[in-house]
């Protein structure tokens, strides 16, 4: 509708997400979260008369998210001086390819959804930052696999689910989540009866379920997302007479009821945010999103909104500190919230980051699906 | 009376290459016409253009009063033009019997087809011996017999033959020419391309000589077989 404003007054919010092919629906709804945050910021007015503009690039190739493409996109965004922060990517292996580049360029990058531990923690993360070891530019508003997996293990035992069969989609997110869950669940006294990974493009899960049936588990824990098999797995449990069995997963399956419908009842999943029903920001966000895009929020729309809010808040502070002039990327990085004092209040709770780039006061909530709808069960406030 | 087949100013090209230039041919009902010419003169090209296997660039082909230019090759075949093509083009993965049945594809009645197949096998007893064999494993001559037999099954009004004697033993060649004479006597019109020009002219009423894609001569068969130039070039001194 409107052409881009003259370059000097526009600040680019770079975005790298999978926008076409298999990941398109999550990618697009995530992007919409970002667009909404940018629209809100512009409507509120930006110091110095700047406007924010979303510059979104697609990191899929041939319809699949692709680290090489992600790296290339990040370079494109960095080459544009007006871009002061990057939101994305969606996938952890794409992040692994991008972090060294953003680290070298010193530009803020906030991912809404890349959960792999190694992106922020330990030796792996240090290696990713080796171009500029003293600086961390990568942040994420989602949780890590280990936080989520161990929380899920505790929830399961709270629910008196003691015998687990673990299945994952053999992709980065799902496999890591399942690994942590298996480890912590055993540590806390649960029994892991068996583990399985599924092949990509699998449509038929009955063979796997027939096998699981023989182990007589209390529940199946699934590491993966609704579309990498979670939905079908849950659905097909009914076809082999396991419809009553509990089913549990992480934040990849909140939309499972869309695929499994009523058969999703009895599913538990975790989300890295406080109970949305009690957060006014969350309610406002959901309503605004629906009004603007005419559809329900996607699984990571809120995270994306939050990530963008954090980035914008840092940029705005940097503008002010710079005398209402265009700040540098380093100045923006310096304004990223680091403690309770400058927390940003987002639809997924207040956010500030620790030195690794992870959220400081993580909260993991457990939801269950009943009558085809999600309902909040309990939440865990994890300490650092 | 209009001719059964009339070709006027036919031009055919392969990509940019001119293969036929302004060919005029007339074949009356009941005639046998021979096409002579050196390798690459355009004989095969002419036959393929008539039966619709090659697109015509310009010119007209009329058969029995109807224009064939817009017809597809299968429609032309169903109108009654049979073609024994260069290279035989039998269905190599089908048996001999199936090949013959394909020859009768346009015939509605199974009984009729079976009868005609019997007739064809009477002409080529060698094929009867090999009836359930895959056509691709036949000997060269046997394949040639099959190609001719397949075309005969449809009982075309006009039969185009591209070197029918190719690869056949002398006795069979003689026999083929007898068969041609025989079906001709029963009303089939024939256009014959044959390297064995002497035999061809002996059988034919008239002949055309093609050179470099053009008609160089046309005359009665008798006149052609006495023309010294023709004798030197095609009949071999």
């Amino acid at each position: 509708s409107s052409g881009p404003a003259p370059a000097s007054t526009t600040i680019g919010i770079g975005v790298d997400l999978p926008l076409s092919g298999a990941d398109a629906s999550v990618g697009t709804s995530t992007l919409d979260g970002i667009k909404l945050a940018v629209a809100h910021a512009n409507a509120k007015g930006v110091p110095g008369g700047f406007t924010f503009a979303v510059q979104a690039l697609d990191d899929t190739q041939q319809g699949v998210h692709n680290p090489q493409q992600g790296a290339s996109n990040v370079r494109t965004l960095i080459a544009d001086d007006s871009v002061l922060a990057i939101i994305g990517p969606y996938n952890s292996n794409v992040a692994a390819a991008e972090i060294p580049i953003t680290n070298q360029a010193g530009i803020v990058q906030i991912s809404p959804s890349a959960v792999s531990d190694g992106l922020t923690l330990g030796k792996d993360a240090a290696m990713l930052r080796r171009a500029n070891p003293t600086v961390n530019t990568f942040f994420r508003v989602c949780t890590t696999d280990s936080r989520q997996g161990s929380a899920a293990a505790r929830f399961a035992l709270d629910l008196k689910l003691k015998r687990a069969y673990i299945v994952d989609d053999n992709e980065t997110y799902g496999l890591d989540l399942a690994n942590v869950f298996a480890r912590d669940f055993t540590k806390l006294g649960g029994t892991v009866l068996g583990r399985d990974h599924i092949a990509p493009d699998t449509q038929d899960f009955k063979a796997l379920l027939l096998k699981i049936k023989g182990y007589k588990p209390d529940f199946i824990f699934f590491g993966g997302t609704t579309s990498t098999g979670g939905g079908l797995l849950r659905r097909q449990m009914f076809d082999v007479g396991m419809g009553k069995l509990a089913f549990m997963g992480g934040d990849g399956i909140p939309d499972i009821a869309e695929v499994a419908k009523k058969r999703a009842d009895g599913t538990y999943y975790t989300v890295a945010a406080p109970n949305a029903d009690l957060l006014p920001a969350a309610k406002r966000f959901v309503a605004a999103y629906k009004a603007k895009f005419g559809s329900d929020v996607g699984p990571y729309s809120a995270n994306a909104y939050a990530a963008t809010e954090v980035a914008i808040s840092a940029i705005e502070q940097a503008i002010v500190a710079n005398g209402n002039k265009m700040p540098t990327r380093a100045e923006v990085l310096a304004k990223i919230p680091r403690n309770a004092k400058n927390e940003v209040h987002t639809p997924i709770g207040p956010i500030s980051f620790n030195k690794n780039g992870d959220v400081r006061k993580p909260v993991i909530s457990l939801y269950a699906i009943r009558n085809g709808h999600s309902s909040f069960i309990e939440q865990l406030n994890l300490s650092e | 009376m209009s001719a059964l087949l009339e070709v006027r100013a036919l031009d055919v090209r392969y990509g940019g290459i001119v293969a036929l230039r302004g060919i005029d041919l007339r074949v009356e009902e009941g005639e046998i016409v021979a096409l002579l010419g050196a390798n690459g003169a355009g004989k095969t090209t002419t036959l393929r253009a008539i039966s619709g296997l090659l697109p015509i660039r310009s010119g007209e082909v009329d058969f029995d009063g109807a224009n064939l230019r817009k017809c597809s090759s299968d429609a032309i075949a169903r109108r009654g033009i049979g073609h024994v093509p260069e290279g035989r083009r039998i269905f190599t993965r089908m048996t001999v019997r199936e090949n013959l049945e394909m020859g009768g594809f346009a015939i509605a009645s199974h009984r009729e087809t079976a009868m005609r197949i019997d007739d064809a096998l009477a002409i080529f007893p060698r094929l009867r011996d090999r009836i359930e064999q895959r056509a691709g494993t036949l000997s060269g001559g046997e394949q040639q017999m099959l190609a001719i037999a397949r075309a005969l099954i449809a009982r075309p009004r006009l039969l185009l033959l591209d070197e029918p004697s190719l690869g056949l033993a002398p006795l069979v060649v003689k026999q083929i020419f007898e068969v041609l004479r025989d079906i001709h006597s029963r009303g089939t019109t024939i256009v014959l391309v044959e390297q064995n020009a002497r035999a061809a002219l002996a059988l034919a009423d008239r002949g055309y000589v093609l050179r470099n894609g053009e008609i160089a001569r046309s005359d009665t068969a008798a006149a052609l077989s006495e023309d010294p130039a023709v004798v030197a070039a095609y009949l071999g001194g």
């Binding site: 190739q61 041939q62 090489q68 290339s72 996109n73 080459a79 580049i101 053999n170 980065t172 | 290459i17």
Partner: protein, 358 residues
Amino acid sequence: MIYTYAFVAIAACVAIERFHNRRAKATIVLILAAFLAIAPRFYGNDAVFSVLADAAVYVMLALGLNIVVGFAGLLDLGYAAFFAIGAYTYGMLASPQFGLHLPFWVLLFLAAALAALFGALLGAPTLRLHGDYLAIVTLGFGEIVPQIFQNLTKYTGGPNGIAALDVPTFFGHSFGASVMPYYYIALVGIAAALWISRNLRESRLGRAWMAIREDELAAKHAGIDVLRSKLAAFAIGASFSGIGGVLFAAKLALVSPDLFGFQVSVLIVSMLVLGGMGNIVGVVVGSLLLTIVNSALLPQINSLVDATFHTTVDLSNLHFLIYGAILVGIMLFRPEGLLPNRERRAELHHAGEAAGDA
């Protein structure tokens, strides 16, 4: 900017095809080489050269596959497997994974050798297969290899792959985070691949491949060792992608199994066919074109449209449609490829004269 470079390269290729004079061709090649070597100092940025370096890797892959498919006529739908083998060679031997940090330059050759070995290993039992049976076996191989990398988590990092691979050095100078070294190495790689492709094509082995492609039985009757020639094709073709794999992995500093799926094999076959299979220059054009479409045009199409037409339209959910339409469109428009095989044109060129004196 990226389009400027791509345009110059493609235009030069087309010019090379048009000219029949050897000297003229050589001149264009030299000018193009000089341009590609010098222009980066004045024009472009990291993002552009990153894409160009990636494009160069794809050109190498396509040239390698061209040897197998275009020259020897062996339809290989699993070529990405060798790419994966090359990349994982670097990933496993130059990373914290096993604490091995072999030098980039050594691995470049090691990967070529390993990929060639696997090419021969795959080839040996399957070369009796004909046509599409071979295609489907190679496809199967292409599916198996990345899945094995994905499932052998202990050694390969599983689905996560291996990240933070070593940064190569050149006489003690680290490449650092710059993409330029990769760009130049890839240019040299292409030059070598082009030279070898041309050599092979005109050679005794190249003629043997042609014969096998056209009629295996007649080739045997000419005394050609069909099996050995096919193995040579597989091995040489695979070695190109082994090298490509190392470059790719080192530049990205990451390998993961989803980078080498069937889609990649299909992409490279498309590059060949689109450009003009068997024709070296055509293959280069095809691969440049598709890489630019896939890595630059489609991901940035929204910004591009916005900037050009000053409207905001969202085309990102049409990427596949656009890409598919490009493939279909080019094939319907030029079934023989954009720059078809030289022989095909030579034939049209000479036949006019020959027809006259038959």
